[in-house]
């Protein structure tokens, strides 16, 4: 086997294929007398205005979140009660959030503010900050900048996203416009799910089986 030094491969992907593809693309398009123009349109078309009415974004967000089997809460006490009820007593919490939440959690909880990937199965819940939410679809927005650990929001059975009420966008086009410069943004719409086996809906495939938004 010819082992090329790492540097050579990393800096010099083959340029022969690049040239071949580019010249074939140019050749394929050359015979076209005119090219299809970009249509002028507005994404307003894809917005569910009639659903919004004049209700506020938070009301719609919680309504739509329930539709995708998510849970919207506004009180920390209610969150703690939920976790206790599900016997989810051990978990991870973003260190920035913990001072605000700690007083509400009882001694029956074990909460860590560091995440150890060697112990993925130990965390029943993970609490992280969201960058915002989308009302129309009941979506929570996570970004590299706001979410303390990608794994902390993904591997526990329960994910709690702390969302600021003022950061709820009304629809997808608005949320797209707000993507910003973060190198990773992920929209999460309800718990992880599959219907691969006989079309039967099962939640909690690789990600959380319970998705909670704590709106503050």
């Amino acid at each position: 086997m010819d082992e090329k030094p790492a540097q050579a491969i990393l800096t010099m992907p083959s340029s022969a294929d690049r040239e071949a593809i580019f010249s074939r693309v140019r050749g394929a398009l050359a015979p076209l007398h005119e090219r299809a123009p970009m249509p002028d349109y507005t994404t307003e078309l894809a917005v569910l205005r009639q659903m919004m009415g004049n209700r506020d974004a938070f009301t719609i967000f919680s309504e739509r979140l329930v539709r995708v089997n998510g849970i919207a809460l506004t009180e920390i006490a209610a969150l703690v009660a939920r976790l206790r009820e599900g016997k989810w007593l051990q978990g991870y919490c973003d260190p920035v959030l913990w001072p605000m939440l700690a007083p509400h959690f009882g001694a029956d909880f074990t909460v860590e503010t560091t995440y150890d990937r060697k112990r993925v199965d130990d965390y029943a819940f993970g609490i992280t900050r969201a960058a915002g939410a989308i009302a129309e679809t009941g979506t929570i927005i996570l970004s590299d900048a706001t979410t303390s650990r990608r794994l902390g929001a993904l591997t526990p059975w329960v994910h709690v996203a702390v969302v600021e009420r003022a950061k709820i966008y009304s629809d997808l086009p608005q949320a797209v416009a707000a993507l910003g410069s973060d190198s990773n943004v992920i929209w999460v719409t309800g718990p992880s799910k599959t219907a691969d086996v006989e079309g039967i809906l099962i939640e909690g495939v690789h990600g959380p089986g319970v998705q909670i938004a704590l709106v503050v």
């Binding site: 992907p13 071949a20 894809a46 993925v120 690789h206």
Partner: protein, 463 residues
């Protein structure tokens, strides 16, 4: 051969499989229609616009490809180009070797199915594990996906439970919940051990170089949270011009594909992880794959490159529902596959030139397509091409006798009479092979020929 290949396959299909495919695709189609028409005032308009946007991209790839390459590089992504499947696989292997990596976790990507990446890597001593539940089951079963969105639509829970048992994933249990939990527990440790995460892309924005990935299970997110190196294998046609266009396409993709308002995980990736983020890839590669796409672009079927792989045309297709995906002998089944698969064969086109004939040209695929691809027109063009290239067409009934009847009035009248006689004959007993094959599956309708001629003759003359 008595039938065309696809008919033969369909005739031999197990009743179980046919029922699973039929129900699954029908349900998918009905849910989609309800969702689109309940929620949008004018869903048809959305499709038309989305189609125009993608057609614009396809016809301007010479501008968009360099643009997207520059953006990706500016975002810190290493960009590779692969003209063939082999080149794409070699590029992945090269990246893995350079990192001393041996373990890959793979999210679902159709391009890597095209290039048979997992097999290739395994041959070279690498582990390449599929993480999408359906694809994982296909992999441990040494099977092939039969639908582009629902890979195991052809399997029932009992088959899955049996193969889990065989592969050491617990004693036989065919409860879908148990199956899913077992896969969860097995796979999560695999992600964390892996060196490289491989994904495809649903869209790439030329404006920002943002790659958009959608999954419901969260497997691609897990790949990008657990591993240190991300490789995205992307067909060169996956571009949309602007971030703005994503609002439209994401709406259409989830609704058309799985009848959801939005797929559960929609991830926007514009480079390696942020420095402050502890989890995720420090290195990111994009491999743009041609593998026949530029030939499609040069053909008169370039419209098929608009496809966003939603699977709606499979779900609605009466032929797909009866024949199931494997009948198409290709990575892409159904109407989209009937166009794309023969074209991607390049000079081996004749091997799959029968696929475009597996259609009644009913047009349902065009009506549901979120990018409004005129699939029936493209099928006709490919049938024409097969004819022009003199590709033999076994199993197609010869049309010579028909041509004779239709061009000789006397012969035609005689045949009408013959048709009437058939109503009084025990057709089941006639020794005509074609008739027997037909009657084995269905009842021959009563002959009603000649009514139009009679009407035409007797109609009142217009002054």
């Amino acid at each position: 051969m008595r039938f065309q290949q696809i008919d033969q396959f369909s005739a031999e299909l197990k009743a179980d499989t046919r029922a699973a495919v039929y129900d699954g695709s029908k349900k998918g189609h009905e849910k989609r229609t309800k969702l689109l028409y309940d929620e949008f005032p004018d869903p048809d308009r959305l499709r038309h616009i989305a189609g125009e946007v993608k057609q614009h991209v396809v016809e301007n790839l010479d501008t968009y490809l360099p643009q997207v390459e520059a953006k990706l590089k500016a975002n810190g992504v290493i960009v590779h180009w692969a003209a063939t499947a082999e080149a794409a696989n070699e590029a992945v292997l090269g990246i893995m070797r350079a990192r001393g990596a041996t373990k890959m976790v793979k999210a679902k990507t159709m391009v890597s199915e095209e290039t048979e990446l997992a097999h290739f890597l395994e041959k070279h001593g690498m582990e390449a594990l599929e993480t999408d539940l359906g694809e994982f089951i296909v992999q441990i079963d040494h099977d092939h996906p039969s639908h582009i969105v629902k890979p195991i639509i052809h399997k029932n829970r009992r088959e899955i439970a049996t193969s889990f048992e065989k592969n050491g994933l617990g004693a036989y249990n065919d409860d879908p919940q148990t199956i899913t939990r077992r896969a969860r527990n097995f796979l999560r440790h695999k992600y964390l051990e892996a060196d490289v995460g491989l994904t495809g892309a649903n869209f790439v924005s030329a404006e920002s170089g943002r790659i958009v990935l959608v999954t419901n299970e969260g497997n691609s997110r897990f790949c990008l949270a657990a591993t240190k190196c991300h490789i995205a294998m992307i067909g060169i046609e996956k571009i949309v011009p602007r971030d703005y266009d994503l609002g439209l396409f994401l709406n259409l993709l989830a609704r058309s594909g799985t009848a959801q308002d939005l797929t559960v995980y929609t991830e926007f990736i514009s480079g390696p992880k942020s420095p402050a983020q502890p989890d995720g890839p420090e290195e990111m590669h994009v491999i743009f794959v041609d593998n026949g796409r530029t030939e499609v672009l040069a053909s008169e079927c370039r419209d098929i490159l608009r496809c966003i792989r939603c699977g709606a045309c499979l779900n609605v297709c009466p032929v797909y529902r009866q024949a199931s995906g494997h009948a198409y002998r290709s990575v892409y089944p159904g109407p989209v596959g009937a166009v794309l698969s023969p074209l991607l064969m390049k000079e081996k086109f004749p091997q799959k030139a029968d696929l475009p004939k597996a259609s009644s040209l009913c047009g349902a695929c065009n009506e549901v397509c979120p990018v409004n691809i005129p699939i029936p027109d493209l099928l006709l063009r490919l049938r024409n091409r097969a004819k022009e290239e003199n590709v033999p067409s076994p199993g197609t009934p010869p049309m010579g006798a028909w041509a004779l009847l239709a061009s000789q009035p006397t012969a035609w009248r005689a045949s009408l009479f013959g048709g009437k006689v058939m109503n009084y004959l025990p057709t089941k007993l006639l020794p005509i092979p074609a008739l027997r094959a037909w009657e084995a599956k269905r009842a021959l309708p009563a002959w009603r020929g000649g009514e139009f001629r009679a009407w035409m003759k007797n109609r009142p003359k217009q002054s």
